[in-house]
């Protein structure tokens, strides 16, 4: 990838300004401000998130990590506009949102539940464009194009159940790309594929981020994955959950599964985040 090399020497911050001419550098792509989410009312009310702040700059890759059950998926539902926070606000390019905005495409956790088994890969990928009123021929042309982008040019006419888990997740990613979103929101997207496929998909998403200049927010419980992918890692902990740390990942791009993970800094960052999560679990709530 040629684009990778140009990005290699730039830090995430400077990339922010360079890659988004239509957005002032000061305006984050996606922002959670003092978000609070409470489920239920009265005695059974449970506050899951409180005073939560997350900022994702244009072109930035941010991972959200935290112990399981901390409220990562709840936060992601807020960020994607699917859930309205009880208090605080979500802003997309400076605009407060109350419903899913067109700038965001979501890749859901379980591809086998989010891909439609009665449609071919092509139809699945083309479906979101229907919401945009794109004509059928253009929808399918676009779908073919993005399927080729994720390396599935030959699988357009296959049904999801004819594809391996990794390929199905590629279709789900292609579907998000076809939507032409500026921000990709992913909920543990690689949790149900084998390790090798997982590495391939991680590199695919990094490459797509570079090539398409999109922002990515990815929730994971895998700290290695978070450090490997991110410009910044947001660590959630406690109950109700809040951000206990935001870790700048200064590791050089392009990242490499063997080289990057062999770096001393990688081990340090990983250790720091893991330590924080373990510490938060020991601390009394």
């Amino acid at each position: 990838m040629n684009t990778k090399e140009t990005d290699m020497n730039t830090t995430p911050k400077s990339m922010t300004a360079a890659t988004s001419p239509d957005v002032a550098p000061a305006t984050p792509a996606l922002e959670a401000r003092e978000v609070e989410v409470t489920y239920g009312t009265g005695d059974t009310a449970k506050t899951v998130l409180r005073g939560l702040n997350v900022t994702v700059n244009p072109g930035e890759f941010v991972c959200i990590v935290g112990p399981s059950g901390v409220g990562k998926t709840t936060l992601l539902r807020c960020l994607s506009g699917l859930l309205r926070p009880t208090a605080g606000e979500i802003r997309v390019v400076g605009r407060t949102i109350n419903a899913p905005p067109e700038e965001i495409a979501v890749v859901f956790q379980d591809y086998s539940r989010s891909l439609l088994p009665w449609m071919t890969a092509l139809k699945n990928v083309a479906l979101p464009l229907k919401g945009r009123g794109v004509a059928k021929a253009q929808r399918e042309a676009k779908a073919r194009e993005v399927l080729a982008t994720v390396g599935l040019g030959d699988a357009a006419d296959k049904y999801p159940w004819q594809l391996s888990g990794g390929m199905q997740q590629r279709v789900a990613i292609a579907r998000a790309l076809a939507y032409d979103a500026r921000i990709l929101v992913m909920d543990e997207p690689f949790a149900s594929v084998d390790a090798q496929t997982r590495f391939e998909l991680e590199d695919l998403v990094l490459e797509l981020r570079d090539r398409l200049n999109i922002s990515v927010v990815l929730v994971t419980h895998d700290i290695d994955e978070a450090v490997y992918l991110s410009d910044r890692v947001v660590v959630l902990a406690n109950s109700p959950a809040s951000v206990i740390d935001t870790v700048e990942i200064g590791l050089p791009f392009p990242r490499d599964q063997i080289e990057t993970k062999g770096l001393h800094e990688f081990a340090e960052l990983r250790g720091r985040i893991l330590g924080e999560i373990l510490q938060s679990r020991k601390a009394p709530k």
């Binding site: 506009g81 495409a105 859901f108 088994p117 945009r132």
Partner: protein, 261 residues
Amino acid sequence: MSIAHRLRNILAEAWLPVSLVALWWLVSAGSTSLYFPPLAEIVAVGWRDFTVGPLVDYAAFSLTNLAAGLAIAIFVGVVAGVILGSYAPLRDAVNPYLQFIRSVPQVALVPLIIGALGIGALPKIWSISFACVWPILLNTIDGVKGIDPALGDFSKSYRLSRRTHFLDMVLPAALPQIVPGVRTALAIGVIVMVVSEIYGADSGLGYYILQSGRNFAVAETWAGTIIVGLLGYLLSRLFEVFEHFALKWHRESSAEARSRT
């Protein structure tokens, strides 16, 4: 599948009915009983009425009513089922009435419907659709209710229109439940089709059966009954073929999901 294999399957399915018919033919040959005429006579009379008699017109009348009644039942059952399946408060409000109406024997309502609407095809179509709508409606409600909420999230986050959401997602997702409902409705429809022609009719297979029975033309009565039975069988086989293709994705994807776990 090889031809020999296919042939063996057909034989395995056909030997019993074929031998039963042969047995009936032999045992009934020369029968002088008024109520059990020889099968040879039944077939001859049936053939006569089919080729030069009124049976083709009667069958066309009956099948048209069945098709129209079933079409109305499918449309109403699926549309109402999708609405009730999607909105829980509405479903809870209507559910007791649904459970009550489905328990009412639909066939018993036929004289009432025909009495109220008079003779002709229309009251028969209404009788059929009123009887057929319940299994379709209840199955559609169940199917829509059971849809993975992830699909709703997907539609919302990709800002799909309501129309796309229902036509491209909810309807196909509920189809594996809707189709068995239609299959049940088809069997009910054949019965109500015949019963509806016993009252205030001047055409149809049910009319043929009733008229011949009244005139003690028992061979005709038997012929009509056998024709209805054969039609019902044929329709259900046709439906199986439709089901095979319409739900191929469902069979294959469930098989794939099972093999994964």
